[in-house]
């Protein structure tokens, strides 16, 4: 590689591909996410050396090895904590956290919620496959109740987390969902996540074709996708369905599906998506886990919520800068001496 000439060329996905062989199972959804990330980075325009990928442990967490950037494959559940220390000290770096549903929300739950409240300016890509892949197929905190897995042969009795609701409850400032099988959408969400100043939490539905194949099939397969998903966009009404013929309206706090053709409703009556409304977001993130209350609703994809709040590392830095200005001249020697000294001759 010639250093000088390299500076000029714009980077490509290939420049972000390390020399390590990718070792996920053939057909794993992780491949497509990797590809999107590698192709989005050149567009963002960062240099390779400015980027750090930090992961925990899990299939998904092998990710950093495949990226030609700085990276750390750490220990289970702690990527968020490690990234916090890195970002606090090196705010200028672009820090990406790669984690799984188990890594982030089971063993890593505490650091995850604290990362969110502190609002470090990092991007969290949470590969949710609703299973523990690397340990060969136990249910995870996002597996639906009743799920039969190696560790729950009679069905899981755990009520699962709603990852986005949890994020909202922990004061997350950027909450989005995408999926492995919709590269275009994923790409857009990644770009927006990167732009957001604060912790960008992107839940990515990822198919584990070995231990939980088809978990998200209805959202990804052509035959059902149109009716089972809704792609939300800022300022746009909530519309979905085979022929974009269904909409969602708010009846008080209750979302109701309306038929745009037969019912007497126009687009103007529909719920207009507002990323900045936390109240609405709190209903939107619940589109799926409370069928009794709301009836069957399509699963939303897109940016649920976005809020501007100062980032930990900025306040952290400012405080130090302020203190340094106020007491600028104190030398190490005066610090060692303290305020009361005496001399023996």
């Amino acid at each position: 590689m010639n250093v000088e000439t390299n500076i000029q060329k714009p980077l490509t996905a290939k420049d972000f591909t390390s020399d390590q062989e990718v070792r996920w199972c053939p057909g794993c959804g992780d491949y497509s996410i990797l590809k999107q990330v590698q192709s989005v980075l050149p567009e963002i325009g960062l240099k390779r050396e400015e980027i750090v990928f930090i992961s925990g442990i899990g299939c998904s967490s092998r990710f950093p090895y495949y990226m030609e950037t700085y990276g750390m494959h750490s220990i289970h559940g702690r990527a968020t904590a490690i990234a916090s220390g890195l970002k606090a000290t090196r705010p200028e770096l672009s820090v990406w956290i790669i984690t799984g549903d188990g890594d982030a929300m089971s063993i890593g739950g505490n650091h995850f919620i604290h990362l969110l409240r502190r609002n470090f300016n990092v991007n969290v890509l949470l590969f949710n496959n609703e299973i523990y892949g690397l340990t060969k197929g136990q249910y995870s905190p996002t597996s639906p109740a009743g799920k039969i897995t190696k560790s729950s042969p009679h069905g899981s009795v755990d009520h699962p987390f709603n990852p986005l609701a949890l994020t909202l409850g922990a004061d997350g400032t950027f909450i989005a969902r995408s999926m492995d099988r919709d590269p275009k959408h994923l790409r857009e969400i990644l770009l927006r996540a990167n732009k957001h100043q604060g912790t960008s939490m992107v839940e990515i539905y990822q198919n584990c074709n070995v231990f939980n194949d088809g978990a998200f099939e209805i959202f990804t397969e052509k035959s059902s996708k149109k009716n089972e998903t809704i792609f939300i966009e800022q300022g746009k009404p909530l519309i979905f369905g085979e022929n974009n013929d269904k909409g969602i309206k708010l009846d008080g706090f209750k979302p109701v599906i309306v038929d745009l053709k037969s019912d007497n409703v126009s687009e103007n009556d529909l719920w207009i998506h507002d990323e900045n409304d936390r109240g609405k977001a709190s209903i939107l993130v619940r589109f799926f886990d409370n069928h009794q209350a709301t009836g069957h609703l399509p699963r939303p994809f897109g940016i649920f919520y976005q809020e501007d709040r100062s980032c930990y590392e900025d306040d952290f830095k400012m405080q130090i800068e302020k203190a340094s200005m106020e007491k600028e001249n104190e030398s190490l020697d005066s610090l060692l001496a303290g305020r009361n000294t005496w001399t023996i001759n």
């Binding site: 950093p64 090895y65 750490s74 490690i82 000290t89 770096l93 952290f316 190490l332 023996i344």
Partner: protein, 614 residues
Amino acid sequence: MNSNIKEEVTILFAGDSGDGIQLTGSQFTNTAALLGNDISTFPNFPAEIRAPQGTLAGVSGFQLHFGSIELFTPGDSCDVLVVMNAAALKANLKQLKKGGTIIANTDGFDSKNLRLANYPDGINPLENESLDNFKVTLIDLTKLTRECLKDSGLGTKDMDRSKNMFILGYIYWLYNRNLDNTIDFLKAKFKKRQDLIDANIKVLQAGFNFGETCESTATIEVKPAKLEKGTYRSIMGNQATALGLIAAAQKSGLTLFYGTYPITPASDILHELSKYKNHGVKTFQAEDEIAAICASIGASFGGSLGVTASSGPGIALKGEAIGLAFMLELPLVIVNVQRGGPSTGLPTKTEQADLMQALYGRNGEASIPVIAASTPTDCFDAVFEATRIAVEHMTPVIFLSDGFIANGAEPWKFPKSSDLKEIKPVFAKEYTSENKEKFLPYKRDEKLSRKWAIPGIKGLEHRIGGIEKEHETGNISYDPDNHEFMVKLRAEKTQKVADYIPLQAIDSGKDKGKVLVLGWGSPYGAIKTAVKSLISEGYEVSHAHLRYLNPFPKNLGEILNNFDKVLIPEINDGQLVILIRSKYLKDAIRLNKIKGLPFTVDEIKSKIIEIYPN
């Protein structure tokens, strides 16, 4: 007024946690230190924030040893016992030397206080013959204080709060000290409350005058100590640790990142460091101990000096992450201010029972350097050295302190910053047209340590992790031979630190003899005093004190063989002794105390005499 001259005096202040005992003690300490005495202190807290007033559980103590000779311990027992109430007397009387002085606040001996202190009904020790062997001075503090402040306009609660100043003034008189230092302190402390400044100074002076007017006993003079020439300050161990870290960071050219979660008795390091934002110190109060160490690992990866600290239970939680740091081969200082264990144990008491945890408290073969401080001031040097090893050898290092030295104070002939050793991190260099070497993250130098490759530098992009890695490239490797090679290499790397540390020295006594007392950590002062005293009595006994617990200095085996017997005193059930016996097959003798308290000099002396070969 006549004045007796004494070489050394031990005063024990005792009272309720709310009585301002710690403040009174440390004021006297500072004044004594400023006047050139050698000092050694031992604060002894109850575990509750403010345990119920008047009870034995609520007694807070502050022991101060000061003298015109060199001192190494806060004193086995005390000459003067100052007690604010009956419980304080009951809890501490056994500490008082025969014929010693008791200064008692009579007000703290009313029937309620006597009951709370579990004295039998109708018994007041101040009124029967039980204290006949001691000199007793009674002062009705509340009355005298209120009297003195009757025109101050303060409420009784505020008035009563300055009771401790009366005692302090009286003790100043007794030991011929002037009040200036404390007056300055009061002015700073109550900056915004002139009424409190006035009141406290008034009471302080009243206490002093009380001595001068009402007392017939002579005052006692303790001359300045003949310490080494130089400029001194008084310092506590946790402060010294904080300063040591700041100094080490500056001498390494690194930013200090201190990731921690509060825990007694380590929290004061955080409190101290968080004052120094103006020195660029970054303190991060994490959500738990695991996050704390992980954030510090992240900071080290980013090129800062990552430090994390806790006490025993918190260190237990960090075990897995210490293993990660060991595999990553990044600098990291892990501070353990040990306390009484196991589990929650005795949080405010001291113990040395985390040595084996430091060596083995994680999975797999992960031997990392372990360094221990032996005195409050030694915390500075030892943590500086721990940092040097972490940075220059690219490794996590465990630094052991304990509650006794963390909270104890002594005079410190602090160094000039220019006299401190430079610490030299070895950074990987940018890939340029001059430097075309392909960067191998796990390529090693003669110390077997790898280079630090900081994100942001072009051409050094690399990935590290906790899975076994291929030699030099750092790529994941499951190759059996590579694994064995790497395990041995990492072990050797840690052992190699021995090439870069001083040989073990004898602290007191000769190179050869009958008994070697081998110590580590906070029993330093007690061992030193005991050994010196026995040497002066003609015993062939020596003292060596280990700063490096892993690896041991290379000549340690040789030293051990120069003595008939080796005695290892520890504030635990015998941990160093396991290592010494295993490594050198030397039948070392143990002396253990597990009471949450430091050794007394006497305990060590008696044991040496007991085992002394005839």
